[in-house]
Every structure is written in C-alpha cells, then in structure tokens.
Symmetry: C2
C-alpha cells in the first residue's frame, strides 16, 4: 500500500484470524482518496455487543473522535457498528466535518439496522478537508449484501495508510468450557501524522463481558501496550482503540473484574494488544532497529515510564541507534532531561548483555568493540537502572533514520 | 572546525568585538582531543568582577556544572576566572571527573591569581571519560604570559565542537555619560549532544552592576533568548551561560533592578543574548530552514511557550518544513498534543502572510500554491492564535533534515 520500502520486520504473511461468533464485516473501494484499493470497513456486532474504547489524548481531535466518545456512552439495544475509512481523517474542517460524521453514522444506521448515536466512527488520512460522507453511504448497501464472518485480512488492508504491511493478531482461550476467540487488527505507522498515519486498532471477541469490566480491562492494558510505544513522540488527532465483545460464546456474563474466569482472558487480551502494538512499532516510519527500553530503580512506575519515554523520544538516542553507536552518553542526557528523580552517580546502563556504565561512570570491563558488535543486531535492548527505588517500566520504539525523513519531508512532493 | 557542510545561514565573517575594560583572555592548543586547533580559553575579569550564571536543567549534569554552580555563590575578593575547554565534557566519569575539576580550578587559581572556589569551569566534548586536567594546567603559564584584551574571535573558535562557524555579538550603550560595551560568544550546535555539542555562552561587560541585579536580569532575559530556542528537544548535561561585569566603565554601581540607568542596558544585553541564541539555531545540525514560531491567544505566556515548543520539537512539523510543505495539519496535531488549553474550533494558523486556517477550518481563500511558494523561503514564520486569552510567546527552531541524521547517526563511523 505504501510507496515506501517494506519494513525489515514485516511478517512473512498475515496471521490466521478465524470468524468470531456475533460479528460480520465487509470492505469496499469508496474512493475517498486512494485509487485501486479498499478504504472502507464496516464491522457489525450482534445486538447486545458490549464496547470499550480509548481515544487520543490530543486536545484537537477529529470529528469522528468526538462522535465515538459519545457513542461509547450509549446503551444500544440493537447491533453495534464500527465504520472506518482511510484516505481522509475528517479533521479540522469545522461544521463540514461534523456534518460528515452525522451523515456517515445515520446512513450506516439506516442500512445496517442500528441506532445512529451508537455507531462508532474512525477516520484516518489527509486533514483539513471534510470527508465526503456520500462516498461512504453510497457503498453501504452493497457492503450490507456482502457481510461475512471472516474477512479480517481485507479489513486490516482497508484501514492502512503509510503502513507497509497489514497488522493482525488472534488467540483463543476457554471460559466455562466454551471456546472464546479474540481477534485484532491495527494500523500505524508513524506514531502518527494527522495527514498520513494514525494509530487505529479494533479488537473483537465473542466473550460475554459487561461494558464496565471491558472498559476497565482495556484502560489498564493500554498502559503496557499501545501507550508504551512511540515512533516520533507525535500524537495523532484520531487515535482510536475499540474492544467489542459480542457475548456469543455461550458462557454467562462476567460482571466483576475480579471474576476468576477473567484470568485467562486478561492474559489473552494482553497478548493480542501487545502483538498489535509491537507490529505498529515494527512498521515505524523508516525503521531499521526495533528498540526495547527497560527502566528500573525509579521512584515509581510512572516515573520509570517518563524516563523511558524521554530516552525513546530523544532524537539523539534514536539517531545513535540508527548509526549502530552504543552511545550511552546520550542515554545519560535523556535520563537527565526527563525531569524525573535521577542521580548521576547511581545510574547504571546496559546495552543487551553489556554493562556500559555503573554508578555514574564507565564500566572498566566494557569495551567499545563489545558495544559495536551488539549494536549490529536488528533488535536492541537498552536497560537503565536509576538506583533509587522499585519503579519499573518498559517502552518500545524504533530508530530515527533517513527513511523517516524521506517519508515525512517528501510526502507531498 | 566541523567536517560537516557549513550552515547556509553562516555570516560572511565574525563581527567586531572590541576590548572591554577589566577583561583579559588567552587561548591555547591543549590537545584535549582535537589536533591542530585551539581547545582551551581563559577569561580573567579584574578584581570585583560580578558574575551571573544559568546552567542546564538536566538532572545528570557534568562535574563542571556542579563546580560552577558553587562558584556562583562565592564572593571573591580577587580576579574572577572562566576556564573553558572543548573536546571532553568531563561528564559521567565519577570521582575522576570530580578530581579533574578540582585540579583544573586550583591550577588556574595558582597561575592567574584567583581564589580556586571562585573559578568558573565549562567543558564540552566527548563524555564518559575523565578530562585529563594536566593537559589544561600545563598550558596555563604560557596563557598567562599571552593574556590580552581583545582575542574574542580566537575565544569563540576555541570553544567550538560541531559548530560550522564561530559565534559572537557586541553592542554598546551609555550609562551616566560613560560608554559601556557588551560582548558575547557562544557555541551550539545541536541543542546539544553530550558528546558532541552543548550550548555554552559567555557574555562580558564593563558595566558596574551588583551581582543580584545581574543575576535577575540574566534569569529574565534567558527566557526569551536561550530558553526560547530548540534544535532537537535534547538538553545538554553541560549547558552554561555566564554574564560577567567588570565594573570598569566608571559609573557608580547599579544595585537596584528598577534603576532607570538599566533601561538601555537591559535592551542592549537582550540584543546580545538574542543575537547569540539566533546564531546557535542558525547553526543547528543539518539546518536548511530557520523557523520562528509565534503563539498568541493562549491562556498565559507559559502556556503559549509550551505550545510553541511542542510545535518546534515535533519531528513531523520539522520534516514537513524541510520538505517545503505548508502542512498545517501537523501544526494542529502539535498544538493538541502539548497538553495546554486549546480548542480546535478557535484555532487559527498562518504561514508568513498566509492565513491557512481559522476557527477550526481551512481558510477558503488560501491556496496550496500560496503555501508552496512561501515555504521555499529560507526563513519561515509560523503563527498560531489559540483564541483563548492574551498569553503569547515566540520560539525559534530549525528543520529536521537528512543532514541531522548524517551528523548524529554517523558520528563515530
């Protein structure tokens, strides 16, 4: 889909995502912007489907975000719909954006049989121009006729923008002797750019779980998955993560987050969310190195995460990794600029198995040759111990390369 | 000095910096790291010289920062010294770094006749290795013999690292009928990188001003000069700005910040600080565009500055500018991710004279051709009105280019 070089971390093929009871879907070529590819996806969950969602923290969000936030609060009797288009993010076009959202949702509600206010919308693509909702609504009737249970790969392709591969994940587990499946799809591929890329992810399951429990699970698990990744520190106006549960698996509804039947579900859901989040990083714009940053010894987990993000977002750290330079001086700098409690003379730093510096000075046994050899790996692990407390966090990022500049500086040329 | 392409904004020549009564200086080739160039500068202010300083906010600072912060609090009877070396930042080498600082300061005190605890030190260059102080102290005797009043250009060259040109500024004014001069030199040229570049600036004047007044002036004026610039959002472990006043100009001492005799001095000092700060940005690593970002209509000046910095540090905004793309969608994104009060539907954005978007939507009279033509300029001005209040701030930055990646990814190769 992208004109850019395919990520070296692209999987050989899209994983198998089986049908999930209670869901149907369809894709179409609505011609929003792209030619010769699909750009519209409809997901319909059966009546009673519960939905949880988290949205961008950006204070200038797209019109679809405003709409979907409200939809999250609607207790719908009938089916739940998710309508996603690529090619136009429908952001910052004033009343026209808001009108497009109403038209898209109402049109979908009429065709697919749902309550308009309960329809979820997500849009990604160029901004500053209103989405022509008629392009979407014109396709709804044929999409309704084409609804089927297992078209997940087509769905993952329809929502792509600068992504160089389609992203999907699936797992299953047992609840009360019933098999439960969890599927997810996502797109990246800069952390964002409002006119190019935005993080969207949609996860569906046939588990029977109450909305408030689903929402609590999603809020917690987002912290260690989608909120633990960064490509370029930029936050989209349209980021959306939805979790839909049809309840079709047949077990009785889980209404308590401490219900022991959730133990396996929690782990399985985390697997899917984490897998999708890692796929987004591994398709980060211009990536040549996948980077894991583990921060320990902080005064709190939140403090550790802020330090980790300061390292992950430092252009100087990211360019050093691109240059295969075990430049721990830049890591010291990034720790210090985070503004979190840190003491130079308690700081230790590892690159993979190599202890580079401890307690404020270079490890005498470390050699530059060791570091140089390690940095040739495709996957790099940086570990930092602040030596202050028990706070820990892990974040994931990619390097900053000429490829990133190519993609983002030459976009319109 | 740098192996990299000279900035397109480099001035034709170094400005004239006249001698300033009460100051002498010398440079030397100490061989800290570089060969065939100077890397050491000594500035001596006469007895009674008052000094103000601001230092990096990085919580993992270099040993010289710790030392100089203390020196700022010393009321010295004799001369004041500033010793600056390039080639080694003396950061993160534990006790060896601390020993090197003591040896450098004590050696200078012995040779140049000052109190060791009152000596200011600044180091920039590679990190993780202790500075060999003996390389500095060995040069002090010959430097003492060579002290002279006007060697500012040589000084500016001695403190350079990845800078592609030497940076200096000078102005003069009258206080009580006496001519007063202000000279300054600085180095960049990434906002920082602990092993490559660090922001250092030294400003000297013969004005007679009490230390607390000097310090207050510097603290205020740093906000709109050195703290209003960013190359890459990374904060050095060694940033240092010192302002020295010898008092040799002959007027009686100014001891009150509201003294009307300071009016012209304040403006002149701001001119010098601002000039140096702009020279640092215009030598930002890989720069092809100089960018001014004016934010107005914020709820406060601080809020406006945070929004400005969010725009200035956004990799997606910076790459769009490099690509000559009037991509206001990325500016909306950067406003929204700043976390400061902002309302999408009150936001207006200009590029130079062109109003691109107002009150949450594209200006119908704006054409992409207007934007494309404007973006070909070397100097770009972005203006954002948040439409909420009277808070305003201006920040300065450069674009993010392949040149930045070259310099920072290929440094050790």
């Amino acid at each position: 889909m992208s004109k850019h070089k395919i990520s070296p971390f692209a999987p050989a093929k899209f994983p198998v995502l089986p049908p999930i009871a209670g869901f149907e879907m369809a894709t179409a070529e609505a011609g929003v912007k792209y030619e010769g590819r699909t750009d519209l996806w409809v997901l319909r969950g059966q009546a009673g489907t519960q939905v949880a969602g988290v949205f961008t923290q950006n204070l200038c969000p797209g019109a679809a975000i405003d709409w979907s936030r409200k939809a999250l609060g609607v207790e719908a009797d009938g089916p739940r719909l998710v309508i996603v288009n690529s090619g136009n993010a429908n952001v910052f076009a004033g009343q026209k954006s808001r009108d497009a959202v109403v038209e898209s949702a109402q049109g979908a509600a009429d065709v697919f049989g749902a309550q308009a206010e309960s329809v979820f919308l997500a849009s990604t693509g160029v901004i500053g121009e209103a989405l022509e909702a008629s392009k979407l609504t014109a396709k709804y009737p044929q999409m309704k006729a084409a609804l089927k249970a297992d078209d997940w790969e087509a769905a993952a392709r329809a929502i792509m923008t600068t992504d160089t591969y389609a992203k999907g994940a699936s797992t299953s587990l047992m609840i009360d002797g019933q098999k439960v499946t969890i599927n997810g799809i996502a797109k990246g591929s800069g952390m964002i750019a409002p006119d190019m890329a935005t993080m969207l992810a949609f996860v569906a399951t046939d588990a029977n779980i109450a909305q408030d429990v689903l929402q609590a699970l999603l809020a917690v698990q987002t912290q260690t998955t989608f909120n633990a990744i960064t490509v370029d520190s930029d936050t989209s106006t349209s980021d959306t993560l939805l979790l839909l549960a049809s309840g079709a698996a047949g077990h009785t509804q889980i209404t308590d987050i401490d219900d022991p039947r959730l133990t396996d579900f929690k782990a399985a859901l985390h697997d899917v969310l984490f897998d999708l989040a890692m796929q987004i990083i591994k398709d980060g714009e211009g990536i040549t190195k996948f980077v894991t940053i583990k921060v320990g010894g902080a005064v709190s987990n939140i403090s550790a995460k802020r330090v980790g993000m300061s390292i992950a977002n430092s252009p100087l750290v990211k360019t050093a990794i691109a240059g295969e330079d075990a430049n721990w001086g830049r890591i010291v700098m990034a720790v210090g600029k985070a503004g979190e409690p840190a003491e130079r003379d308690k700081l230790s730093i590892w690159m993979g198995p190599h202890l580079l510096a401890q307690k404020g000075q270079k490890n005498e046994n470390y050699t530059e040759d060791d570091g140089a050899a390690y940095m040739k790996n495709d996957e790099i692990e940086i570990k930092v111990d602040l030596g202050l407390g028990d706070g820990a966090s892990t974040v994931y990022t990619c390097d900053l390369t000429h490829g990133y500049i190519d993609i983002n500086a030459d976009y319109r040329s």
